[in-house]
């Protein structure tokens, strides 16, 4: 087994275990911290795929900004550890069964798709994940969506302030 495969399996196991811990933790703050670990594992996957720009943006935006916002809101609300009313055991069981069937169905579907058999992902090489080609594409082909996203941010900011004020 090559180093890349070992890294892939290690990062995948890390991501899945952390994602399960997000659900299992009773304390919301622990959930946020586990979710940050999931994001770091996914950033590791991006680096493995040589998508360096997205790896850094994932860490800065998700693990940096969004998760700090979550932590801030949780601490602002002073949510107690066991104040969350639990769903009935039957509802929980049904949820897990539904999610598991969803996963099984999709895996069975993907497994028999003939177009995906034997296709390989290019690890470690390729230049499309670097800043230079991405910046070129972003500011030539995708410059209109890029500018529109600034309007989106402005409207989100106005919406958050108005909702939070009253």
């Amino acid at each position: 087994m090559s180093t890349l495969e070992i890294l892939f399996y290690a990062l995948s196991a890390f991501a899945i275990v952390s994602a399960i811990m997000v659900l299992v933790s009773k304390n919301p703050i622990h959930s946020v911290l586990w979710l940050i670990l999931v994001f770091f594992a996914i950033s590791g996957h991006y680096i493995l795929l040589n998508a360096q720009f997205l790896a850094i943006v994932n860490i800065i935006v998700y693990a940096g900004a969004i998760m700090v916002l979550f932590l801030f809101v949780i601490m602002l609300m002073n949510v107690k550890k066991d104040s969350e009313p639990q769903k009935q055991l039957l509802v929980k069981f049904t949820g897990v069964i539904a999610g598991g069937s969803f996963l099984t169905l999709l895996i069975a579907l993907v497994k028999q798709t003939s177009q995906l058999q034997g296709k390989q992902v290019l690890l470690k090489e390729g230049t499309i994940g670097l800043i230079h080609p991405l910046g070129k594409a972003l500011f030539s082909d995708y410059v209109v969506p890029f500018e529109i996203s600034s309007v989106l941010f402005l409207s989100a900011m106005v919406g958050a302030v108005i909702i939070g004020k009253k």
Binding site: I16, V22, A51, N58, F70, A98, V110, K119, V121, G164
Partner: protein
Amino acid sequence: MPILYYIYLCLTLFSIGVVGVLTRRNAIIVFMCIELMLNAVNLLLVAFSKMYHGAAYLNSPTTTIGIDAQIFVFFIMVVAAAEVSVGLAIIVMMYRNTHSVDINFLNRLKN
């Protein structure tokens, strides 16, 4: 690395997010599970982009095929950041009105 392994990983992460949305009652954790699903989709987009890039990379190393998916991931992150700011503002407003983040309180919207 075969693309199927990446698909299995992303499907697993997505399903964990679905189970979280179905089983938890804390609105913040439900919201975090939605973020988890978004990230699974992002990883899958990048993996597919590198799959198409890898097929063309062997013929010409300077090709930029597959770059669109990475731009899309970037825009998904942009939209997610905007969505989180509004969503958390709504959760804070809900907490101020009901002193709880239990999503079952929201069934008042029915009437």
